[in-house]
């Protein structure tokens, strides 16, 4: 990014020099003395310019009581200040009009300046501030903007972009593009032309009025200029609706201007410009009426309204779509849940040695259990837990339990069965998902039991007197290592009960916020009254980690109980 550097600031060689005429005038003004010979000398030196000034004084616009024939008379009738200010407006305009600034439409710029000037004058008249002071300051307040382009000729193509923005946006854009604001550029100009005594301070502060600490009159002028900037923008900025509203707001806040009064002022700008421009000899090509501005603003407003309506409509449509998809997804989940339920075995009622429960923490469970009777009367059973949760766990659960049921009808050694399932799962393993499983085969005739624990929490064998044995995992979970061995243990069930469970049980939270743990589970089982049915026993364990039906579970909970 290139920006105005320090050298430019020091030399600022592109800034037009102050014409001798103006310098002479300002010197006289500074000393506040009517130096007749000096005035006459200037009049002789710049006859055309002085004639132009006198024409302005003699126009209806100035409304002097008698026609004037010399600057001295003008000073006498209108006052040194006013003469000096008029001279300044004309000189600055003429000095810049003579140079070409790349990309800049100077004619448009000076019309904008006139808009600011007449706006400032009108506000000034309303609030009782010197109207000629307001006009001049308004006319010159944004000369710094021209200077920015003068000092950075390569930024000329951005002129239109700048011009169509509202004052605040333009101000911050200046900082980004030029690394300098127009009031800073204006300060360079004031230095070069030695204008510091002539209204420079309020002009330089018109974008920072609220922080401007100065005598009351200067502060008032600063505020007038700020308002004038926005009023002029009504005719130029693209977002007319925004700028008009901002104008109403600023004028109301700053000068307690009523809304209709603000609109009157805005509507008066074009005629004021036509009049003033012809007096000052500034060409005006643009003749935008306020009614036209309002029309554009209304069109913009109705477009915005349409956009808003469309946005609302789209939002409503998106919400409807979301609800529809959610309903669809819920329906699908409901179906999946139903299918998953169907994979769990039926409760076989009293007399059957196995009882189980599966409660899922989410819609779908990654846990499962199953049992089925072989033709010879022995019963196969299993309890498994898939790593992770949700749909992917549920799908792997479905696969594993199907493999178990299908292969279990042909392989009657649980160790061998798990080895087969393990190979299947390893071959199609995805995301490292695995399944912990306890599986066994029980013969109700003999009471003999063969059991395999693959990565599952221990099965607990309870005798009527208490814990008899923990059967810990002797193999890793299914789906991890294809050549894992799954050793079986054999035991006689007798009067004992075998509790199998997923880790959701021991990791569940008890009422006091602690995890139940293995020891908590031991204690729960050991203290149950002897006459409890298997269903009651399971319900009793579940109650320890699920205090009411609504409370969420930390993990899927599955319990399988085997007893004679």
């Amino acid at each position: 990014m290139s920006y105005i550097n320090l050298d430019d600031r020091i030399h600022a060689s592109n800034i037009p020099d102050i014409p001798d005429l103006a310098r002479g005038f300002l010197q006289l003004h500074a000393h506040n003395i009517l130096d007749r010979p000096a005035l006459e000398a200037l009049q002789k030196q710049y006859p055309d310019f002085i004639a132009r000034m006198l024409a302005v004084f003699n126009s209806d616009h100035f409304n002097l009581t008698t026609k004037v024939a010399s600057i001295e008379e003008a000073i006498h009738l209108a006052g040194f200040e006013r003469v000096c200010r008029l001279m300044l407006c004309l000189v600055v305009h003429r000095s810049f009009s003579n140079i070409r600034i790349r990309g800049v439409d100077q004619e448009a710029f000076w019309v904008d300046s006139l808009r600011r000037a007449v706006s400032a004058r009108m506000i000034g008249e309303l609030i009782g501030l010197d109207a000629s002071l307001c006009f001049t300051a308004g006319f010159l307040q944004d000369v710094g903007f021209l200077l920015l382009f003068l000092l950075s000729p390569n930024k000329g193509m951005l002129w239109t972009e700048f011009r169509k923005r509202e004052p605040d946006a333009r101000y911050s854009m200046e900082r980004n593009i030029f690394n300098m604001n127009h009031d800073q550029a204006m300060e360079l100009f004031c230095q070069q032309w030695n204008l510091h005594d002539v209204m420079a301070k309020p002009v330089l502060a018109h974008h920072r009025c609220e922080k401007y600490d100065a005598p009351e009159l200067d502060k008032q002028l600063c505020k007038v200029l700020h308002c004038a900037d926005w009023m002029a923008a009504v005719y130029v900025a693209v977002d007319k609706n925004f700028v008009i509203n901002r104008c109403r707001q600023i004028l109301a806040e700053t000068f307690e201007m009523e809304r209709f009064r603000t609109e009157e002022l805005l509507a008066a700008i074009p005629d004021e410009i036509t009049l003033t421009a012809s007096v000052l000899g500034i060409p005006v090509k643009e003749h935008t009426k306020f009614s036209q501005v309002l029309l554009e603003a209304n069109i913009k407003l109705s477009e915005d309204n349409l956009n808003f309506q469309e946005l609302t409509l789209r939002l409503e449509q998106a919400l409807d779509e979301r609800d529809r998809l959610a309903a669809e997804l819920n329906k699908e989940l409901g179906l999946a849940r139903e299918i998953q339920r169907s994979l769990l075995p039926q409760d076989m009622g009293a007399g059957f040695p196995l009882t189980g429960i599966n409660i899922s923490a989410r819609d779908l469970s990654g846990d499962f259990y199953d049992y089925f009777t072989l033709p010879d009367g022995r019963i196969y059973f299993n309890l498994g837990d898939v790593s992770g949760k949700g749909v992917n766990a549920a799908l792997l659960m479905a696969k594993t339990s199907s493999l178990f049921r299908c292969l279990g009808k042909r392989i009657d050694h649980p160790g061998e069965l798990l080895a087969q399932i393990n190979i299947e799962l390893c071959e199609t393993s995805i995301h490292g998902m695995f399944v912990t499983m306890i599986a066994g085969i029980y013969d109700p005739e003999t009471g003999l039991l063969k059991l395999v624990n693959a990565g599952n929490p221990p099965a607990l064998l309870f005798s009527p007197h208490g814990l008899a044995r923990e059967i810990e995992a002797a193999a890793p979970p299914l789906g991890v290592l294809e050549d894992s061995k799954f050793p079986e243990i054999s035991l006689s069930l007798g009067d004992n009960s075998l509790y199998m469970f997923s880790d959701g049980v021991t990791e569940g939270y008890t009422e006091n916020g602690q995890t139940l743990g293995l020891s908590g589970l031991f204690k729960a089982i050991a203290t149950m009254p002897e006459q409890m049915t298997p269903q009651q026993r399971i319900a009793n364990i579940v109650k320890r980690i699920r205090h009411d039906d609504q409370s969420p579970l930390r993990d899927d909970v599955t319990i399988l109980l085997l007893q004679k």
Partner: protein, 109 residues
């Protein structure tokens, strides 16, 4: 969560920390697989793990399986007590190569 990855003596070392659960295991998985993709031997430091659930273990299992296929080293190092209990319960302590320290892992062979 971005887990720190360092390199030492030709090994990449990824240090899992905190709770490696359903929320964070996808990040662990992704970073483990990314390291293995670079054909480097990988050590997973579990000394700062406070909790690991089955999805976290699954990320380790997948890393282990991928490394085995590609004949890369994959080992666990400095396994914290909490993580070790989970691994032991599932008998996975017999599956993963586990070393007490980085130096032990690097000097092994």
């Amino acid at each position: 969560m971005k887990y720190p990855v360092t390199e030492k003596s030709g090994y990449m070392i990824i240090s899992l920390t905190g709770e490696v659960d359903l929320n964070f295991s996808p990040d662990a998985r992704q970073q483990i697989l990314k390291c293995l993709k670079q054909n480097k031997n990988l050590l997973v430091d579990l000394s700062q793990v406070e909790y690991i659930d089955s999805s976290g273990v699954a990320s380790l299992v997948e890393g282990f399986q991928v490394a085995r296929q590609q004949k890369q080293t994959f080992a666990l190092v400095g396994v914290s007590r909490a993580a070790m209990q989970v691994l032991q319960l599932a008998r996975l302590d017999k599956v993963f190569p586990i070393f007490d320290s980085l130096d032990d892992a690097i000097n092994h062979k």
